[in-house]
Symmetry: C2
Subunit: 428 residues, 2 copies
Amino acid sequence: MIEPVVLKGFRDSLPKDEIPKKRIIRKLEDVFSSYGFVPIDTPVLEYTKILLGKGGGETDKQIFRFEDNGGRDVAMRFDLTVPFARFLAAHHDEVGIPFKRYHINKVWRGENPQKGRYREFIQCDFDIVGADNAESDYEILSMMYHSFSALGIDGYTFHISHRGLFSTFLDNIGLKDKSVDILRTVDKLRKIGEDEVRTQLAGITGDEEKAEAVIKYITAGDGSSFPDTLSKLAELSGGANEASRRMEEIYALLEAGGIASAFVFDPSITRGLDYYTGIVYETFLDRIPSLGSVCSGGRYNNLASLYTKEELPGVGSSIGLDRLMAGLEELKSPLLASISSADVLVVHKDSETAQAIKAAEELRRNGIRTDIYLNPDAKMKKIYSYAEMKAIPYMLTFSDTMTLKDLRTRETREYQSIAEMIKDIKVD
Amino acid sequence: MIEPVVLKGFRDSLPKDEIPKKRIIRKLEDVFSSYGFVPIDTPVLEYTKILLGKGGGETDKQIFRFEDNGGRDVAMRFDLTVPFARFLAAHHDEVGIPFKRYHINKVWRGENPQKGRYREFIQCDFDIVGADNAESDYEILSMMYHSFSALGIDGYTFHISHRGLFSTFLDNIGLKDKSVDILRTVDKLRKIGEDEVRTQLAGITGDEEKAEAVIKYITAGDGSSFPDTLSKLAELSGGANEASRRMEEIYALLEAGGIASAFVFDPSITRGLDYYTGIVYETFLDRIPSLGSVCSGGRYNNLASLYTKEELPGVGSSIGLDRLMAGLEELKSPLLASISSADVLVVHKDSETAQAIKAAEELRRNGIRTDIYLNPDAKMKKIYSYAEMKAIPYMLTFSDTMTLKDLRTRETREYQSIAEMIKDIKVD
């Protein structure tokens, strides 16, 4: 006997998890499609040199990499961004620019599994490539808003900032050459707190006043409205500039779209050392900020530069589906609660099989999900436990008439026809 | 510059392929759900010993197998059946028996890529585990019928047979001990033809009369009705027996369900050396039989015996999605033809951005997929080519009024409000 175990950091998705996951993905796909975004997919396995082209040391260690039977150095994708860059370099002529795509699928990282972190997880990316203006920035932000809204999530805030504005500020106070270290430190604010960031910044800059100036910049959003924060930051950066004007335009569009109240200007958001050059953002659930960002991204200058000379600026966002689902579970979201496998369970004796099949087909034709209990000799106790386990709300049995029992209220009613019965079936 | 290539036997899925693929998968999921089937997923990577437990030499050579960073011998799944067996052994108490599940996802095989065969492809499996009767056999057949019907495929035939009946026949003519070789040979009938099968059978049995008896058995369905074929086969097997009675019951249910005409009794179907013990079936598109079976499966006795002592008989089927899509393409199915990324393309000047965004939002709220063209300075020729590439049927522009142009007919009409416009938008 072989023990039926999965690898460390991997897990099975049971129906109670897979049903809501598929429901969430469908809702997201519907939102993305409503914006004219189209789906793509790429191979799970790629040449390692393609995947690691832009990767740093951390990625190298985490990747599932091996030599295939043909002696090729291959690896499993660790995100959906690098394969998208390679895809664009190969296909930009065929897909039409600007290209608006989404990609929802699994990625793999060999990092040490922690609570809520797995070696196999789903990313949900959407990007616009081939446009660099406030309107395309806005479009991605609007999709984020309408995605969270479609999922019926109660309370979320998009924290937005601009990497170019931060760079202008650092340049203005003479810290441009230290920006890599400063970005890395500021990115840890939520984790290590303001005091520790101040200490580290003083160490990097060798100047307590400048460290304080950076702290003043990254906390300028606290308790301040979006336009007020923007004014403060422009001033700290030496006056209005290209980046601050872009943020003004974006805010005007957020207002025109009626969604500005869900966005805060949070200059502490930097997205660390990632390749972003324009707006950057993270998303927090208001009631569980400790969960971390469930949707992040930003604008990048030239995504596919490793694989093509074609200049392809873009802006995109990525929803961490597994983390979002962990959050929804903590919030007891109804999205995760309704996991019934069917609306009606048909229970019949051996002699009633043909009748049961016909009744089930008629119910299905009318959009009622109908499961037939397949062991006619089973005891009723076993059948009830089956219905409960699968959260099926109705049971249909046969005698001279048909009896429909609502298993939630235990009420029963007799019917002469399925047509008559359908009107009384109430499901979510 | 790194050349943006994919590995041999792998391919990108462009929107023109991914849009219909997702549409087909949704339709299948809706059919499966209507029967009370629930989705599961399993890890792409598993311990090699789990995946190869039941595999033969062929599988061993084809598998993507490697040592992970923790020194574990791991492999990528090569089908969805073995992971399902492992899943059942681990979770049968949690999911409730009988368990009706579907699983649509990718699998990987390192076989040499041929026309229409890839190293990465999608399987679409649905199984009932924990029931062994004609009704559960029928349920899977009924789902196959309703799946193909939901996809609007024009002309398909399910070829069904029974492995137990064939075994009884071989036993009856004294060939039971040669059944492995005979099965392997009969399975090649479509490929090598009747004469070659006859020659090979004579070689295996050392008896031309017996070889002829086998030929008579496997061709008994030619031009004969389901009940007539069944009678002939029962007679050749020494009279009515358990297997022939099961086939009788199944046929009665196919008739009760009104779908019998899509099924032929084809005793040449054996599914080779697979683990089937009861009914077996393959599905052919009437207009392109050379494509091979697009949906196959059967009944097995004890799926998870390698991993648990629990007896879990089952019946299931698998749709080869990539092959089916190749067939639909050859048949010029409308399912593959309509690949528009949006219903309306909003085109606006820079000064009209806020108006364009509001119009787009209102269209989306009314279920109209709306793409905004994001480069306001582009020439009209470029915009038309964008709309054509993405098969968008309508273009909306602004002046004092709003102008909607049907790009298919080139007709235009003016509107004062979106509400008014919506009534005129006709999309598939």
